[in-house]
Symmetry: C2
Subunit: 347 residues, 2 copies
């Protein structure tokens, strides 16, 4: 692999592909000069788009593909029929070592299933996990799994914790991230056996005093931990609940500012501040869910994102490749195996 | 039982007891004239408080108790040692038929464990469930279980659905509530076996076309369903995540309004509207989690609530007693047993 990073982009995935993909890559290139892109998709639409960005054109190769994995395709169908699609071939590029990572705004389930099938899992990791950033009162944290696995046992949770900790180091830039397990309280009767066993392992495990213990739902945004670990069912419900609550409040605020002429005037005066507030909560800043655990860097951009959001997703891929995410996770897993302080869990 | 409703109040439970209990009862009495209260607690502090409210004094009896279940007591300890406490004796009053229901702002776990032990379960219901109101874009919905059970099987979820539907009829005043099961998507690979089996039963079950199917976390606040059914782990995480997200946004809004003199001026102009927004999201309006499934009406007020919140909790108890909650749930369970359209689940 050269010094420069090469990323495979699914040129056709997402609601606003391919324009958002090309524009996003152009923005990312400004932030990460030297990055190279292989863009998979229909060249007749991609080529004219690309020609508008001379720098990006120089840094990119177009690879023609015909078929597309659509957003309503079932993952199992996409796995059988989508291997020659823009998504399938972009993943293949990582498998073949042509690219260091792949970014797609396409069908999440398909991306996960094809990635897992083509790239296989990282040694020692049994299940992939979806991780993303969360806004907190004092910055950002990471949370996983956000929906890859419905049922998780204690070993899966421990593996998620290890991957999440490395992810937080590379993406949040924290040297010593604090890790917490999501639960519904700290009382004796609370939590499942699975959670208690994962707790038991992590308590005596690799993070030492950086394992915070259990955290509750209201602490996710408090920033008491840098890494929130949970199963994919709970994580997905929590993530979507956040979205729902934020929308509810936004709607109530909107109605409030329409409720009187004084409120309307107030809105005019505070527009700029409100816009700043919007930026702080801007989903584009939090765009990019990474599929951890597969043997390759796979980043999922939100399907409805704009170019800025897609550029953020590309940034995750660059940071994980540069930071040698996979090698670091493997090293952590080795450390655990070798130190053998793993009484409650066989890893 | 007389025409008038009698409620047992735990006079000592909660952060601001006993004053909030007495003041809350006084507010509730204005809304529900004719209600009678038996207030359990230390008479030397309760009597002088009560003397400030002549109407309430007439409608109330004081029952002296010495011990108190504290907020940090483990439920198992409270069960062994708290039976003569203000909480324990208030629950006992329901068991003995002296009171129609009990309201406490004390230790949630203790209230649940003692209630279950003393009152036993409603026939046909295996597990208690905690239910509460949720604000939605178009009004309110109810959600359960919010934390009574970590693990739930399909039968428990179906029982929660039945209790939640009756609860929504009585508390939201909806004649035909729509019921949904919380899941992480509707795709084939999504959701646990438990959820799919509960889905299968409810699809052909008592609600007919009022069973909406699966709902996701972002739909809880949308008001697409009146009853959101989930296990206690997921429900509790979702509830606390909402609290956390609301607090995060509130803090960002606060910082926004402090960020410039124009924003500060805007705040002054919009103060009243913002106050209205506050009322709409006022946790006191949503105060009162009801322990459904035990053989008696048991309402838990938030420990930190004020008098208005405690009055809301009392209102739940009144509505459930008047609406004959238990009899209606038993009738629904009978209907299910007799119509035998219960292929997938033995109820």
């Amino acid at each position: 692999m050269s010094q420069n990073i090469t990323l495979a982009l699914d040129g056709m995935g997402g609601d606003h592909a391919p324009s958002v993909v090309v524009e996003g890559a152009s923005l990312a290139l400004e932030r990460y000069p030297g990055t190279r892109f292989i863009i998979y998709g229909q060249t007749q639409v991609l080529a004219p788009l690309l020609s508008k960005y001379p720098k990006l054109s120089q840094a990119s190769t177009l690879e023609p593909t015909e078929s597309v994995v659509t957003s309503d395709m079932k993952p199992s169908y996409a796995l059988r029929n989508g291997r020659q699609s823009s998504m399938g071939l972009a993943i293949d590029a990582v498998h073949k070592g042509i690219a260091d990572g792949v970014v797609s705004a396409g069908n999440t389930g398909a991306l996960m299933v094809i990635s897992r099938f083509v790239l296989k899992m990282l040694e020692g990791i049994d299940r992939p996990a979806i991780v993303s950033l969360m806004p907190t009162l004092n910055g950002e944290s990471v949370m996983l799994d956000l929906g890859a696995n419905v049922d998780c046992n204690q070993e899966h949770l421990v593996q998620f914790a290890i991957m999440g900790e490395v992810f937080a180091r590379l993406i949040l830039g924290k040297r010593h991230p604090i890790v917490g397990l999501l639960n519904i309280g700290s009382e004796e009767i609370k939590g499942s056996d699975t959670l208690r066993q994962a707790y038991g392992f992590l308590k005596n495990g690799p993070f030492e005093d950086r394992f915070y213990g259990f955290v509750e739902g209201n602490q996710i945004h408090q920033g008491v931990v840098d890494v929130v670990v949970t199963d994919g069912f709970t994580g997905n419900v929590a993530l979507k609940t956040m979205e729902g609550t934020a929308k509810l409040i936004a709607e109530f605020v909107r109605r409030t500012f329409k409720s009187s002429w004084m409120a309307k005037l107030a809105y005019l005066l505070s527009r700029r501040s409100i816009k700043n507030l919007g930026l702080r909560l801007d989903p584009r800043r939090y765009n990019g869910a990474v599929m951890l655990g597969v043997n390759g860097i796979v980043v999922k951009s939100h399907g409805g994102t704009d170019a800025l959001g897609f550029a953020t997703a590309i940034g995750f891929a660059v940071d994980l490749v540069k930071g040698q995410f996979r090698q670091k996770v493997l090293a952590e897993m080795d450390k655990i195996r070798n130190t053998h302080h793993i009484a409650p869990i066989q890893l």
